[in-house]
């Protein structure tokens, strides 16, 4: 603080010092400061009278943005030239808290009044953060203020919040501990500017202080050394002689003019800052045509990162190095030691395999031993299949995918993708309403299926449900699909992509046919394009991985046990026989691929993992990979999704949807196989 030369410490005007740094909430009356204070602090609130007054001050310790702070709620005030005891206390706390983090809370619908106070805080040289509260009301009244633009104009953090609806409170906490000096100077009439210069001569003094003296703020008297008072009075009278209006009025007028100018700038700022690269990028990624190459690029990066790096290097490391050479070998040896019966495991490249021979004519105890042996390390063993798939094959893939997806989320691309797809759909005369559930489906298809409730007609809801189940893999599944795409040629990937995109457009087209009329727009607030933060992404990757392990691994184990039982009861080979006309003749795949489709009912990523394992073992060529991958991508996402479809759409409709999806996905696969065969396409 700089008014030390003039300022004599107000003897009673100190809040208790020591302890954590202060965080002051200051603002006009009735803007929601107390409500915000409650959310920021939650507990241990102290109410005390401000020294020498009856004004109550609420304060509480809290952790804000990772920092310890003493949060102080000041009385509402309309300006820093106090008109009442309350206002005086607010001003005094502000001036007597050097180094405090100051948060000005304002009513967004009342932006002029808010900025009038902002200008005065700025004039006192106090760094602060501006919180535009009650943004919910502003939104309802259509008087929303662009916080980003205002922040650029003022040069301080500006956060739009709603204490009532709890919007953006986390962001407020982050910005509250990063106040900045505002970059705005109010221009006053020349005589007043001269007066400011005159008062400040030889003194290190803020404009705010000088202006308060000119405006005749008597509450400042205790701050001013007695011997200086006559000189300051003389300057004020001198300036007043040159200005027609009372100085306080002239000063207030200049501030109002400055606010109007500011608001004008903030609204043009939006247009002007388009030249900025990030805004440009944000803009084109929403464009109905230019957004498509952006999306293609994003998918390309995903393919390269997840398919090549994750599915290549990482899986090689975990599967070939760790699981095949160590984990599986050790468990097989351990079980062979614990559960004894005569058999020899197949050995390839000096590695023990789960498959074995020579277990004929076993006694009862040997049968029991074989049972336990097989459940753990048999061809459908929990370790040799479920865990190998889940941890060695799928986990590295989903971790790399989650990393990539975290970058997408953190960069602000997802809402732009939704807007872009919506515009694209509508340009093509399709129903844009389906887009939001589809983007939501990237998070979880099951949930997105539930959101189809908001769609107006049954038909719409049905179509979106089909669209979700057919075309939109949830994030984990998208990862495994990317992995299978990794080793394929660009043409092969392009074919897969066109079939999926074609399907989405086909369903979208049907949607437009069946559901005529203007599609309602959805409103998304578009956050600025951000540079993703590694710490955020790491947290997300960890959280998602944990979720994935908890949610998917049990299903992998159940699926494996199912296969084990089917195999032990000879049902599996029967099923393979039954499915063979479809799988072998129709799709041109090896008979074992039917196992993958079978477990794909539980989760399509598990099915995809099975196909991926076959692909890695060299059992699928490029054509077979593309065909099987297309089928599994179009397949029902997971059993949870199926259950929700049945529940939401009713059993009959649900079964019809499921039937359609199965027929459609296999049908497309057969068509692809036939076409590839007819044109002797090898894709290699």
């Amino acid at each position: 603080m700089s008014q030390l030369a003039l300022q004599r410490c107000h003897p009673t005007a100190e809040l208790p010092t020591g302890g954590p740094r202060k965080l002051l909430l200051i603002g006009n009356p009735n803007v929601g400061k107390s409500l915000l204070f409650g959310f920021l602090t939650k507990r241990y609130v102290t109410v005390s009278n401000y020294p020498g007054t009856t004004v109550e001050i609420t304060s509480a310790k809290a952790t804000i943005g990772g920092e310890q702070r003493l949060v102080v709620d000041t009385p509402g005030t309309n300006g820093l030239i106090p008109q009442s005891d309350d206002e005086r206390v607010a001003r005094d706390i502000l001036l007597n808290s050097p180094g405090a983090d100051v948060v000005q809370v304002g009513d967004m619908s009342n932006i002029r009044r808010t900025l009038l106070l902002s200008l005065q805080i700025a004039e006192y040289g106090v760094p602060f953060t501006l919180c535009l509260n009650m943004s919910d009301e502003a939104r309802e009244r259509n008087s929303e203020v662009d916080a980003t633009a205002l922040s650029e104009t003022l040069g301080i953090p500006v956060v739009a919040t709603s204490a009532l609806r709890r919007w953006n409170l986390e962001r407020l906490k982050r910005e509250a501990v990063r106040p900045a000096l505002a970059r705005v100077t109010t221009q006053y009439p020349e005589a007043i500017e001269e007066g400011i210069a005159e008062i400040s001569r030889g003194e290190e003094l803020t404009r705010g202080f000088a202006l308060a003296i000119l405006a005749g703020d008597e509450t400042l008297t205790p701050f001013i050394a007695e011997e200086k008072r006559p000189r300051l009075d003389a300057i004020r009278q001198e300036v007043q002689r040159k200005v027609r209006l009372p100085l306080s009025v002239a000063i207030a007028n200049a501030r109002v003019a400055a606010v109007d100018k500011l608001l004008g700038e903030a609204s043009t700022q939006k247009a002007a800052s388009r030249s900025n690269f990030r805004d440009w990028l944000g803009g084109i990624s929403m464009h109905p045509i230019w957004g498509v190459p952006v999306l293609a690029f994003v998918l390309y990066v995903a393919w390269w990162f997840v398919g090549k790096f994750g599915a290549g290097q990482m899986v090689d490391l975990l599967e070939s190095k760790i699981f095949e050479q160590h984990v599986n070998v050790w468990t097989i040896q351990l079980l062979d030691f614990l559960a004894r019966f005569p058999h020899q495991h197949a050995i390839e490249e000096k590695l023990i395999r789960a498959a074995y021979t020579g277990a004929a004519g076993l006694t009862f105890t040997q049968q029991v031993a074989k049972f336990f042996h097989d459940i753990v390390v048999g061809p459908y063993g929990i370790v040799t299949m479920a865990l190998t798939y889940a941890i060695a094959i799928v986990l590295p893939v989903v971790i790399t995918f989650f990393f990539f997806f975290g970058v997408l989320e953190d960069s602000g691309y997802l809402p732009r993708l939704a807007v872009m797809l919506n515009r694209l759909f509508r340009k093509m005369g399709l129903n844009g309403k389906a887009v939001l559930p589809m983007v939501l489906g990237l998070g979880c298809d099951t949930m997105a299926t539930l959101t189809t409730r908001i769609l107006e007609t049954k038909k719409e809801a049905t179509i979106v449900t089909i669209l979700l189940a057919l075309g939109v893999p949830c994030s984990a599944q998208l990862g495994v699909i990317m992995a299978m795409l990794g080793p394929l040629s660009f043409t092969a990937v392009a074919i897969w992509l066109s079939v999926i995109v074609g399907t989405i457009f086909l369903v979208g087209y049907l949607a437009a046919k069946v559901v005529p009329g203007e599609a309602g727009d959805f409103i998304l607030e578009i956050p600025p394009i951000r540079i993703p933060r590694l710490s955020n992404i790491t947290i997300k990757v960890l959280a998602r991985t944990e979720w994935y392990l908890k949610e998917a691994v049990p299903l992998f184990i159940i699926g494996t046990l199912l296969l084990y039982v089917l195999d032990a009861t000879q049902m599996l080979s029967r099923i393979q026989q039954i499915m063979s006309p479809l799988v072998v003749a129709g799709l041109g795949l090896p008979a074992e691929a039917s196992n993958a489709f079978l477990i794909g009912f539980l989760r399509r990523d598990y099915g995809a993992a099975g196909l991926f394992a076959m692909q890695r073992a060299g059992q699928l060529n490029a054509v077979q990979t593309v065909v099987s991958l297309t089928v599994i991508t179009l397949f029902i996402p997971c059993i949870a999704n199926l259950l929700v479809i049945l529940k939401e759409r009713g059993t009959r409709m649900g079964l019809a949807i499921a039937g359609f999806i199965i027929v459609y996905s296999f049908g497309i696969g057969v068509v692809m196989n036939v076409v590839f065969k007819a044109f002797k396409v090898t894709l290699s």
């Binding site: 953190d410 944990e546 949870a640 929700v644």
Partner: protein, 69 residues
């Protein structure tokens, strides 16, 4: 269920307090998904791994200085 966490929706940017609605996914009673009350986007709640890491790194993160933007 009142949840003291605050979340930042990756789709619409809403910061909200508490998970108003956990997943209605029939596969698991308490799935770790959090659903944004404004746009419906569903994302993963910070699980126990992150919570554990936070506890471990808490004393160490205190020394971070508040960066100015």
């Amino acid at each position: 269920m009142i949840d003291e966490h605050q979340y930042d929706c990756p789709l619409c940017g809403l910061d909200f307090f508490g998970a108003t609605c956990h997943s209605a996914c029939p596969m698991s009673g308490d799935c770790a998904m959090v659903r944004c009350p404004r746009c419906g986007y569903e994302f993963v709640q910070e699980g126990s791994i992150v919570a554990m890491l936070r506890r471990f790194t808490a004393p160490w993160r205190k020394h971070d200085s508040p960066g100015h933007r």
